[in-house]
Amino acid sequence: MKLVKGANLAYSLAHLNRSPEFLMLDAYAKEGKPMPKRFRFALLAAVLAVFTFALVAGPPPAEAQKKILNVAAKEPETLDPHTSILGQSQAIYRWMYRGLTRFAIRDGKVTTAEVDPDLAESWTLSPDGTVWTFKLKKGVQFHKNFGELTAEDVKFSFERQLQKTPGTRFGVNLEVIKAIEVVDKHTVQIALKAFDPIFLLRMVGYQQGYIVSKKAATDHEKFKWNPIGTGPFYFERHSPREKLVLKAFDTYHAGRPQIDEVHWFDVPEDATKLIGLEKGTFDVLYPEAVTADVADQVKKMGAVIDRRGPGGQERFYVDMTAKPFDDIRVRRAFMHAIDRKAIKETMYPGGLARLASSCVPPGYFGHIPMNFPEHDLEKAKKLLAEAGHPNGFTVKNYFISKSFFYPKVLTLAQEQLRKAGIIVEMQIVEHATYHENIRKNLNPFVLYGGTRITDADPWLSLFFDSTQIPDPGTGNKGTNFAHYKNIDDLLKAGRVERDVKKRASIYAEAQKRMEKDLVCLPISDVPSQWPRNPKRVSTPFDPEYGEYALHYSYNYPEMLKIISAK
């Protein structure tokens, strides 16, 4: 009905300039005469009618019936999936991009230990274990008419990272690759330097595994905000500091999602996100941290928290080359001074997180429990005195991110360290600046959190391999913040070991060495958690660890469904 009225009005307006009244008005104007009163009233009435219609009519029916998912998150810094390590950016990539493989669904749950085919239809491995041949699914389309996915796109996606295209961050996870060859349009052959037991996990649509359109991403700068992938949603528009709009990709290879549009709002404050969830403005939240008060509020408003393992580990790396931490007694004192349990219980009481038991989190292949110096201020003071710091020392200009868990965990640790005589003078900076500064080795100990492929090899390779020591001189932006070099031999051995038990024992030995050298103090293992309005949106997986996810988001956002109108 509204549409008919609207159409009539539009017709009237369109034909106004041909009407006798309009011709008369035109004549008055040409002669310079004032407009007669009745025309003035008519004009006023027409303007009022248009405004009233605009106010009363509301959105057109098609717009009103759209299934729009409103997400409150933090604005991503880029939409190029190979260039950002920030969780806020990682969360949105999975909606737009896919990889050759995907995490498998087994018994109604998603596991991060096994894979299923995704963009690849099938694969084979050469007898010597060094050449993988992937057959791509035919007819998989890129967004916005960028054509069919081909082997060239796969080759390009990995090579841009291996060639360290400026800004790319995950090339290290692909360094096992020796060469990539396009066999035909739908077949790609990847030769490895040596057998890699977790190569199929590396090919999952996650970080380095995302496949991008060669045609679109050749211009790296432009690609940052003009992303083209093969995922269930495509990027429609970006209003900076307001929202991103994603739309359902009609020709998504696994079937069009039920949700028509995703409005990804930039909401930095968790309190604002929660109010939005309660009022129905937002359907899903990506909070900075789900602490006890957030969990309580979510429960009170009748929403649920989708809890996903293995989550991130919050931990301290101690730079063993930075004075005075180059002295193992100071590192031990540092660890004695920190009360891990108090930090965990203050931040995430009860079941909201687990006290970390190893530098390789549980759920990752190769994990063994480690021992860390217990909280003991007297021991800490004694060790500091022995190391020549009887009155403690001051760490000046210690940078910390203003986002996520960082300022909270550091404030807790700061007070504990102060009691032992270690004064930390904190400078709070933007999250991106923090990431820059820790790679310039400006902090002698680094607080860091994150998640990686659930295997000890990529985890330890990224955080404890000597090739990953950040160095502003060479531009190395690696994440070995401890500047550790003592497990390189084990990592090399582990990468070529085909026997599962032997691999496990190699990583166990690596953890024992790290325990002895005191280079890392893990605090909490925190699952990824997203509050959701269950009356508006459904997921096929159980809220309590129904899937394991590494993306800081749902593995399969296309499976989310809007179940009620607002």
């Binding site: 309190a271 109010i275 006890a292 309580d296 108090a342 219980e345 909270k408 003078e425 709070i428």
Partner: protein, 297 residues
């Protein structure tokens, strides 16, 4: 219809009852009294913070995270997200607010007043250059200018004082100049010049003392502005870095818990309000007392 011939026929004259001296005194001195009491209380609290505060402002009680106020409890005004005592933090925060409020006004006064008097008395190019610089600074709102300076220098107590002091300086320059322009035309200035007083002596011995009353009144009002600016900078995360408590950062940290735990923002907000009110009342009352045009009212 009778027409009244004059006003006396319309209404009988009302005899103006003389205001009772106690009521008049109360009206006149109550604001300054309240202002002084609040300001003195602030100074006492700031000076005696270690004695008054029941707990360390940075001590964390993991068994009492986000605990509500309980006036008979260990945490009378509740705790924050780290289990820190809000009452103790507000008491210690008084120090920061007062230090920044007083020191930044002294800074702005010490730089701005001599420059303003120089501009007013000297005139010419000297005046033009000083006043254009002041105009440039005045083009930025106080908070914005302080924010820019703190961002450049880094958020420490001294830098915050300098930043707010610089932001307040042009206000003192303009006021001192306008006062100097009036004073330099006075007969006693001519008399001083005629006996050979140097320009510097005229400024220091004659212009400055005569401008002092008005300057002190304005300085008192700017203490309130400085406290508010400090709280704003801390609120924006550019003030004193944690764990040092300041009212602004208590307010900022409590912002995300405003729904579940409103006591954090409420008590720190009340503290800011009381401090600003104290110095505003004092400033207004001083103006009323010292302004010769208001004498006898």
């Amino acid at each position: 219809m009778a027409i009244a011939r004059d006003a006396s026929e319309i209404a009988p004259p009302i005899e103006q009852a003389p205001a009772r001296p106690t009521g008049r005194l109360l009206r006149r001195y109550a604001p300054i009294g309240i202002g002084i009491v609040l300001a003195v209380a602030m100074i006492v609290i700031a000076a005696a913070a270690p004695l008054i505060a029941p707990l360390s402002p940075s001590a964390q009680y993991s068994d009492a995270v986000l605990k509500g106020p309980g006036f008979m409890d260990r945490h009378a005004l509740g705790t924050d997200e780290f289990g820190r005592d809000i009452y103790s933090r507000i008491i210690w925060g008084t120090r920061i607010s007062l230090q920044v409020g007083l020191a930044s006004v002294i800074f702005g006064f010490a730089i701005g007043v001599p420059l303003g008097i120089l501009a007013g008395v000297q005139g010419g190019r000297c005046e033009t250059s000083i006043m254009r610089c002041a105009d440039m600074l005045m083009a930025f709102p106080t908070l914005l200018l302080a924010l820019i300076i703190v961002t450049a220098l880094g958020g420490t107590l001294v830098n915050e004082i300098i930043a707010i002091g610089i932001a307040l300086t042009p206000n003192f320059v303009r006021l001192a100049r306008s006062l100097a322009l009036q004073i330099r035309e006075q007969d006693y200035i001519m008399a001083a010049r005629s006996i050979g007083s140097s320009q510097l002596r005229v400024m220091a011995r004659h212009v400055f003392p005569n401008a002092l009353y008005a300057l002190v009144v304005v300085a008192t009002l700017y203490i309130a502005t400085a406290i508010r600016t400090e709280a704003s900078l801390s609120f924006l995360g550019l003030g004193i870095p944690p764990p040092t408590p300041s009212w602004g950062n208590i307010l900022s940290e409590g912002r995300q818990y405003i729904k579940c735990c409103p006591w954090i923002t409420t008590f720190s907000g009340v503290a800011i309000m009381m401090a600003v009110l104290a110095f505003n009342l004092m400033g207004d009352a001083l103006r009323d007392l010292l302004d010769p045009r208001l004498k006898g009212e």
